[in-house]
Symmetry: C2
Subunit: 206 residues, 2 copies
């Protein structure tokens, strides 16, 4: 199973590493970290991760994963990237995104006519694309595409993806291996659970 | 706020990056990635992350975070590392661990007489240390030490830590920023939620 994860400057590290630690546990799979160029990319706080392959070297994938982060906006204008995403999607079993990564799928035309989701702060932006139906769910599967909500939702999505690829038993064992029995300290991880003034302040600060 | 995260070969990437993405959002904080040497360390699957500082360059921290992973066992025998952990703990406000990182705290003597936890597969090993009381909780605070359960528990612990450092409101906003409203596909993330035969198989495979 060839799993390709796209890197770019100003990605969100947890969007990548959450699914990375889950998907690496899938038997007979290999993860390829890929960038526009073969080089190190910095996350939003400066952590460097190497894309060991350029997109020119990757023409096929079983799974394509696009993470999010502030840098996604720069990719949306890059025709070489959007063409590559569309071409790779033609070869994949599953094309998936975490957080604002769904914007790149939309820009490549892959969410046309589809149900999907994204980080709550990016929903207005995603709504600008034609014929896209946004759902308030942790992850949304439509056809061969699975989009997830913000950052940490990539972990839930990746475990679900394992269940599709290798069955429920394997997915459950991997969930247990990362001891994913979450007990967040607060019940506030979704915008409907926080006061509107906080939501507005966070949207304006972005 | 000086936050020091220890890297070593065969660390678990999510143990580092979960708390990293949470703690980086704390105002006026800086994260220092530190290793026995100043060099790149590989996670359990080969992902390289740079320790920009050697432990010789770091003699103080407000927060020390020790992640886990298969490589923790090699550190336990390294007196230079255990001495450094003990010395740094003398300067910290909080010393915390994720997953099997608690073993290094125990080896440094910091869990003597303390309540603590670790990855469920590591509890027998942690129990070998003198005067250590293991709790079946997501994270355990005792004095200035907070230990967490396996891998993904570092996210819950880091949000809780933010609430101690900067108050509940800031912690809630950071939890919302990473949209941490978990909905795992299965209810199986803790060993008491899976059949004993699976637990035994996973323990034997380790």
């Amino acid at each position: 199973m060839k799993i390709v994860i796209l890197l770019f400057d100003n990605f969100t590290a947890l969007d990548v590493v959450g699914p990375y630690d889950v998907l690496n546990k899938l038997p007979n799979s290999e993860i390829y970290l890929v960038g526009l160029e073969k080089k190190e990319y910095k996350d939003i706080y400066g952590l460097k991760i190497l894309a060991a392959y350029s997109i020119d070297e990757i023409s096929q994938a079983d799974i394509l994963l696009v993470p999010g982060g502030g840098g996604i906006d720069n990719l949306l204008k890059n025709k070489k990237i959007t063409d590559w995403v569309r071409d790779i999607d033609n070869t994949t079993k599953w094309t998936v995104s975490v957080c604002s990564g769904s914007l790149l799928l939309a820009q490549a035309g892959l969410l046309n006519g589809k149900n999907c989701t994204t980080h709550w702060m990016r929903k207005d932006q995603l709504r600008n694309y034609n014929n896209v139906t946004i759902k308030d769910e942790r992850y949304v599967q439509d056809g061969n595409i699975i989009t997830s909500a913000g950052v940490s939702a990539g972990i839930d999505m990746a475990i679900y993806l394992i269940s599709l690829l290798a069955g429920e038993q394997t997915a459950k064992m991997i969930q247990l291996a990362i001891e994913y029995d979450p007990k967040p300290p607060f019940d506030c991880g979704s915008p409907d659970k926080m006061p509107k003034e906080i939501i507005d302040r966070m949207k304006n600060k972005k």
